[in-house]
């Protein structure tokens, strides 16, 4: 894919150049249109600038983009004492597993703490997708 990477860079450059030229022409036509005295002349030039803007949007959409992955969730371990039932939630540590013994309970002192649950929790507050609600 090495050759492909070079070609992608060239395509990206060409698209950016087309975009810049289109933006300049569009800007000029828009300015020229606004400074006309007659209404129909103004409308014509503004229409041309709008067409160039459409081309600009198309060029922008065609630009290859890298998807960025954001950290949206973290995994937590829930520790519970088998005597007093007290629980602690902490971030998952490598080597944790469900039902693993995690030493004595700090609260009651007599019980043993076990990892009761390990689950992934979202860092962002998610809003339910409204479009599905009507089907439920």
């Amino acid at each position: 894919m090495e050759r492909g990477a070079r070609r992608e860079r060239i395509t990206r450059l060409v698209l950016v150049l087309v975009g810049v030229v289109a933006a300049l022409i569009g800007g000029y036509l828009f300015y020229y249109g606004l400074t006309q005295w007659l209404d129909f002349q103004r409308g014509t030039y503004l229409m041309y600038s709008f067409l160039v803007l459409v081309l600009l949007v198309y060029v922008f959409l065609a630009l290859p983009r890298e998807k960025r992955i954001q950290l949206t969730a973290k995994t937590v371990s829930v520790l519970r004492c088998n005597q007093c039932g007290a629980f602690v939630v902490r971030e998952f540590e490598r080597g944790d597993y469900v039902f693993k013994e995690e030493g004595g309970c700090r609260k009651c002192g007599s019980g043993t703490c076990f990892i009761e649950e390990i689950f992934e929790t979202s860092l962002r507050k998610r809003t339910p997708k409204r479009r599905y609600k009507i089907f439920r």
């Binding site: 894919m1 992608e8 007659l38 014509t44 597993y97 469900v98 649950e117 390990i118 689950f119 992934e120």
Partner: protein, 375 residues
Amino acid sequence: MMSLQFLAEQNPTLFLVITIMYALFFLVFALGGTRIQVRVWLLQIEDFVRQIERWSEEGRKIAVKAVREFGGGDRDVAGFVEGLLDFVFIEPVERDPVGVLKRLDHLLDVRKGRFRGLIEEVAPRADGERVANLEMVLEAASALRQLFFILRHYYIMSKESGNIALVSQMQVMLPFFSKIASAYREALNAFYDGKPIGDGAGALVASLLVRELGEEGGFRDFEGELVRAEVEYKGREIVVLRAKGPGGRVGKPGDGVLRVLKEKRGKVKRVIMVDAGLKFEGEETGKVVEGVGAAIGGPGVDKYKIEIGVVEGDIAVDAVVIKMSLEEALTPMKREIVRGVKDAKERVKGIIEKFTSEGDAVIVVGVGNCIGIGN
């Protein structure tokens, strides 16, 4: 029209330029519109394939790092991992279908033995649980690499042909490929850290059931990679099977069920299988549904064995399924799935109470990958 006439009179040069631009615009789109569309689609596909290539490379690096942690030091770990990622499995011939599952079962056993043996050789400091996790890391990295190879193959083929129909088919499928690839990528990280994944929901139900009805750690080694516990619930004898944890194992529940059926000789009245099942888009994650049949995925070998066993003994087989998407099955367990696990445990107890009598024996099978889930 009026405005164009006026423009032609006022500024003939600009009018000519605009007219030529219009003519060019129509010519380009009328004659080369399809080609432009194909180019744009190919750019999108290429971008996607390159992203999968990066993920595949990332997966290889994670696999090398994971193996190196337990390596002996004198081995070429990178070369070894490279070899394992390209390891091929040739499925048995299906033109003569008689005994195809038996042959598939044997070949899968040979593959597993060879794969595990190679890992033990290159990572001598890893214990059984770590070896199982390493196996999962390598499997996920291998799946990602295979996906990249397949996508690159079809991308090059469609690009060379320049056929809009071929290119469009691939472009249409990109969102689905993206979902599969990101699921494997997430799975790789989960396997490396040893986090429980959504697919382990069935095994977690089995463990919670044993902990509630019997004593802690009531499981003992059984057939192959399976563990077994025996508890009593309202006068019924419950045999609970699941794969051994907390390493990444799935075991062979089919063999386990057949052995218990043979041991109990007609005493077993019901087999209850608990597994993670694929949900439809828009369905709730962690929803528990009940049904009939052997709830188990994979190549079908275990499903076949369980079906044969229950048909021979005229035993009912129930399915309790915890719904989730493909990504959720392969990524760290979501809170909704943990809630579903608790609900599924109650459903299993309900089935036992409702459909069996005192003195009956019931087999409960917790199906799934036990990574990060202790016995």
